[in-house]
Subunit: 300 residues, 2 copies
């Protein structure tokens, strides 16, 4: 079963109390793909500009990530984000953002990717998310992410998207904004009324919560003494979760639980270093070991 992801690819500049990194690879689709590739082959769809260093994609050389859906658009510039965590390691302050190519038309999903069964629509304009979803033949599990901007400016289109997906992943602030409910369980139940069968709310250092019609499941984050760079933690969580789900090809509540725990563990590697450094430093074996350690620590 192949897992397709489409989302942003960016050139990031990041400042945290542990230092600064200029012009490193980032973006939701990049973190997601790397994280998911520990569990299943990934098909990456995204677009960059002419300015994007080719060597960026060397990180996928030894991974099962098919970059056949990567478009290098002539005359365009790559999405750039400059963020700072100097004030608060739990919340990025955007110093500067240039949408560049992300503000243009969506990348095309290659013909040979259109039979993908498991889809993650990482955060982008909900019209583009629907367009890309529309070009897939027989999707079996569709999960999307979104963000404040679209909740506020593209509410109607987002509502249309929600009717077409099985799962929504979003953070606590976004869930509250979308539903105008402060209590997260209430908020999650309101999201379910909008269409998805399940909703996963990411709570940063406080972990994640899954709510479906029949289940509510809360997981704390993996306890981390040192957070070097939280960029990409949420996308890595989603990647680990979707990668595992896709590999199992079943979406029962019990499987979603285990998948969220894998997402939690994968994200714990991401935050331990800058950019993709944390993910590059680990392996499926190390992830499995930490997953068992986490499972053990959570049981009582």
């Amino acid at each position: 079963m192949s897992l397709l992801v489409t989302g942003s690819i960016g050139i990031d500049t990041v400042e945290t109390p542990f230092g600064k990194r200029d012009d490193v690879i980032g973006g939701s689709a990049i973190y997601f793909s790397y994280a998911a590739s520990f569990f299943t082959p990934v098909r990456l769809v995204g677009v960059v500009g002419e300015d994007c260093p080719k060597h960026y994609f060397d990180i996928f050389n030894d991974r099962e990530v098919d970059t056949g859906g990567l478009e290098v658009r002539k005359g365009s510039k790559t999405f750039r984000w400059h963020g700072s965590y100097l004030k608060d390691l739990n919340e990025a302050q955007t110093v500067e953002v240039d949408l560049n190519v992300l503000a243009e038309r969506a990348p095309k999903i290659p013909e040979n990717f259109r039979d993908s069964r498991h889809i993650f629509l990482a955060n982008t304009h909900p019209v583009l998310q629907q367009e890309m979803l529309g070009s897939l033949k027989t999707p079996k599990l569709v999960v999307a992410d979104t963000m404040n901007l679209w909740i506020q400016t593209e509410h109607a289109e987002l509502k249309k998207l929600l009717k077409k997906i099985h799962g929504l992943v979003l953070n606590d602030g976004e869930a509250r904004l979308l539903t105008e409910k402060k209590n997260l369980i209430e908020a999650a139940k309101d999201v379910l009324k909008m269409g998805p069968k399940f909703v996963v709310i990411k709570k940063g250092e406080h972990g994640a919560m899954m709510v479906s019609d029949r289940d509510t499941f809360v997981l704390p984050a993996f306890p981390a003494e040192k957070v070097v760079d939280p960029t990409g933690a949420g996308d890595s969580f989603a990647g680990g979760m979707m990668g595992y789900l896709s590999s199992q090809n079943t979406f029962s509540p019990a499987t979603i639980k285990r998948a969220m725990a894998f997402g939690t563990v994968v994200a714990s590697y991401t935050i331990a270093d800058f950019s993709l450094g944390g993910l590059k430093s680990t392996s499926r074996d190390a992830i499995d070991d930490r997953w068992h350690e986490y499972k053990q620590a959570m049981s009582f």
Copy 2:
């Protein structure tokens, strides 16, 4: 094994989005005692003024709470607290507070309570906490709570207390204030260097974390769709935890985990109604059922 608690007893006025209650029974020792009494007999030590309605203590009529250490001090007035959760259900705004009798000398621990083996020093002045601890003969497990005020104004005395106790329970903001560390695991490890063998950090709606030399354990809160009044949630958590620990008479990491889960479940009843209403509505059987439900929901 008897569990002794000493802490505040108060007349509370509380406002939440669900209504207002004037002059209801409250205070750390009250919530703690009721919560702990589901698991073990409790000895309550505290002081009120002449103005405290006698019928307040009827709540303990059918509980195994020995109120022999309750002093009604002539010429004094009961501690009063008026809090509001209208702005934020997760954080009380103090509208008015009158320490009254709490600003006077500590209550005396009755002679027949001095053989208590398990002690919870609920939040009060660290000099009084040390005094009361000093009058106990052979304490085996001593756990204390504290607050911002003492961390800021009685740092030296608090440090002395920390060398004499086995466990410290405090909330996330207090842990950060005490250690000047933002990361909670780092903060907890710093607390361990100050004396306690284990530290429990309460994170409100995000649950609780226990750190000892060898273990780190994080538990999410019991998912609650409706929080009516969070007053006393932390004290009920501590009561459930200490009550269970005392009943088991062993303090292994595995037992502390289970105890924290009981504390979490007991607190979930407290927040479902005003004052002691939530605790009064439940039973040990209902708590055990919810504990198993919680355990099941947490396992993956």
